[in-house]
Amino acid sequence: MKKNFLVRTGAAGMAAMMLGVMLTATPVMAAGQTEDSTEVVVGSGITMYTSYPGLTVKAGDTATFALNFTNATSSGETMELSASSKDGLEGYFTGSSNTVNSVYVPYGNNQSLVTYTVNVPDDTQDGTYHITLTAKGASHTSTVNLTLQVQELDLGASTLKAETDKQSGDSSSSLSYSLTLQNNSLETQTFKLSADDAPKGWKVTFADSNGSSLESVDVDPVGSTTIKVTVTPSSDAGAGDFKIPVKAVSDSENLEQDLTATITGTYDLGLTTQSGTLSFKAKANKKTPVVLDITNSGNDTLNNINLTATAATDWTVEFSESTIDSLAAGETREVTAYVTPASSAISGDYAMTIKASADEANTSNQFRVTVETQTVWGIVGIIIILGIAAALIAVFNKFGRH
């Protein structure tokens, strides 16, 4: 009913202006207006409104309101825009990326013609704030009341948090952590990063997200930064969990986050002769003692170390201690291997493999055994030669006729 009335009023106005001859055309015009009726606005005059006049924001945030205008008059109108707030909140109007102070409102519905932006200061207290926006034209005035519900920022203690505070690896690998340092104060703070209480021999380095190393880091007010922490365990670190307290210290704040490094056990056996050489001399069919050093070079105890030897046929290899029950990390045990080359072994070098296998690890080393002919036969030869010489002298004496 209302719509029809409006259309009819518009049609009547136009008819009045056109007079006489145009009268016959009036029903046609009226029909045309009726077809456009979806564009036709409700109410009278010019109305400014926004879809969500009440917003909840955090201090420091920016609140934006899209302002729509409805012009129900027959012609467009330029309107002055202004805002007032008794709480001191200030904002500005923008349209087409420009800051504006007036807007031309053409006939019809105009969605998001102007945007009103309010910067809520960081120090804004909690509470409800009111802003009144006014659009004032030559003949119409429209106002919108905005309500801002401000929740104050959680100011105070800054935080240092790890996304993952546990990493694991063996003692030869380095572990990476990612820390987020949140500055919850209103000033830029410089945090000095340190991990002085890390276990001895460990290395802890800090880097920014680009990987360049850091000693200290500046964090914007109410801002945060990501710090990469690389932890290099000492090479002799045993298996287990290690705590690495990381500290970020600024003039006013002292933050700490514990990182946990789980070092997995590494098992490594070393096997060599006491002199470090992998060769020794032996005589055929003669027991030769060779002192071997068996070293646990891993970081965990090795259990049940068995010594075995692979040598040529008829060679025998015995160990003073063929099984070592357990060997603590870093310890060395002396074991004597008694190598007896085969009686048929001839002079020259032979290869022999000694293997040490623990439950956790094993190692083997090839030894080069230089077999030497026993000099006893050389001595026998000399005795024979001496005997021959003696016999010759005897011949000389007997037949010499001196």
């Binding site: 048929s344 080069r368 000099t375 050389g378 030869g381 024979i384 010489a389 010499g400 001196h402």
Partner: protein
């Protein structure tokens, strides 16, 4: 004795026979070394092409490597060394008898054994002079031609090898002197010596393989033949060692090729497992051939002692 020794030695060195032998061996030496050098340099070129590996003891191969159409120095010594020994010893005593000078010598105020001792020692010295001169010249020539640097161990091995050459030739000289004492005519002793030399050097190995083959037949295959193979080989080796030629060749192999670990092929085969190719030290090589050396010394001494006893028991008549 010293006077006689000097006289005998100067007789040797002045004799046309000695000089001819010397020149002959020198020529042989030059040919052999040149042949060895061409072979070795070919091998070395192949090595630089990455084909074969060259021994660490390259220089020693100058003595043992044969050229494309000439025997190696060591082969020549093995064959012709006995000739030198026989030539120097076959007429030691019977020539004096034939010329009637032995009576006059025996009439001098000297012990009779001085005569044979001086002759043997003079022969030994002449051989040593010849061998070491040739060996030294050969080493020097090889150094100049190849540009190789001698290591101490190579020098030791070469010196030992030349000593063994001297001993080998002396053995044959002692044998020839024994015949020169026992046989009346120089021709007889020469022929006898040469017969033995030919027999042991040329035919003995054939005879030995025949004997071994008849005792441990390896023909026809089968299990028994395989079992026999080792016994056959051992017997052959054992019998072959009767010949000084064979013993000397084994000495040469061990001394001049440190890569050879044993003269006993059977033990080489059985202990091959686990063995690593390696060079024996000089002392170890020496230990391997020590029985051979003792054998050669013993044979020399026995031949000489036999000649000595025969000579002393003989009547020297005018």
């Amino acid at each position: 004795m010293r006077v006689l020794y000097k006289k005998e030695l100067s007789d040797h060195l002045d004799s046309t026979r000695y000089q001819i032998l010397f020149v002959l061996l020198a020529c042989i030496m030059i040919f052999a070394v040149n042949g060895a050098i061409s072979t070795i340099s070919q091998a070395a070129q192949q090595t630089s092409d990455g084909q074969t590996s060259v021994s660490e003891f390259l220089f020693l191969q100058l003595f043992t490597t044969s050229g494309s159409n000439v025997y190696s120095f060591s082969t020549f010594i093995g064959f012709l060394g006995p000739i030198v020994g026989i030539m120097l010893g076959f007429d030691a005593i019977n020539e004096e008898v034939a010329q009637g000078t032995l009576n006059r010598l025996a009439a001098q105020p000297i012990y009779r054994d001085t005569i044979i001792n001086a002759k043997f020692l003079a022969g030994l010295t002449a051989v040593a002079i010849m061998i070491f001169t040739l060996g030294g010249v050969m080493t020097g020539y090889g150094l100049i031609r190849t540009g190789l640097v001698l290591t101490g161990e190579e020098v030791a091995r070469i010196v030992m090898y030349l000593l063994m050459c001297t001993l080998y030739i002396s053995l044959w000289m002692a044998l020839a002197e024994l015949f020169s004492v026992t046989s009346r005519y120089a021709a007889t002793s020469a022929l006898a010596s040469i017969a033995i030399w030919l027999f042991l050097t040329m035919f003995w190995s054939t005879i030995v393989s025949g004997i071994a083959g008849s005792i441990y037949p390896v023909n026809g295959g089968g299990y028994q033949a395989q079992l026999n193979a080792i016994s056959n080989y051992s017997l052959q080796t054992g019998l072959n060692r009767v010949s000084p030629y064979y013993v000397f060749s084994e000495i040469t192999t061990i001394l001049m090729n440190p890569n050879v670990h044993s003269t006993n092929v059977v033990s080489l085969l059985t202990s091959q497992e686990g063995a690593v190719a390696s060079y024996l030290s000089f002392g170890q090589s020496l230990l391997q051939i020590w029985p051979h050396i003792v054998l050669m010394i013993a044979e020399t001494v026995i031949f000489f002692a036999a000649a000595y006893i025969t000579f002393m028991k003989r009547e020297i008549r005018a």
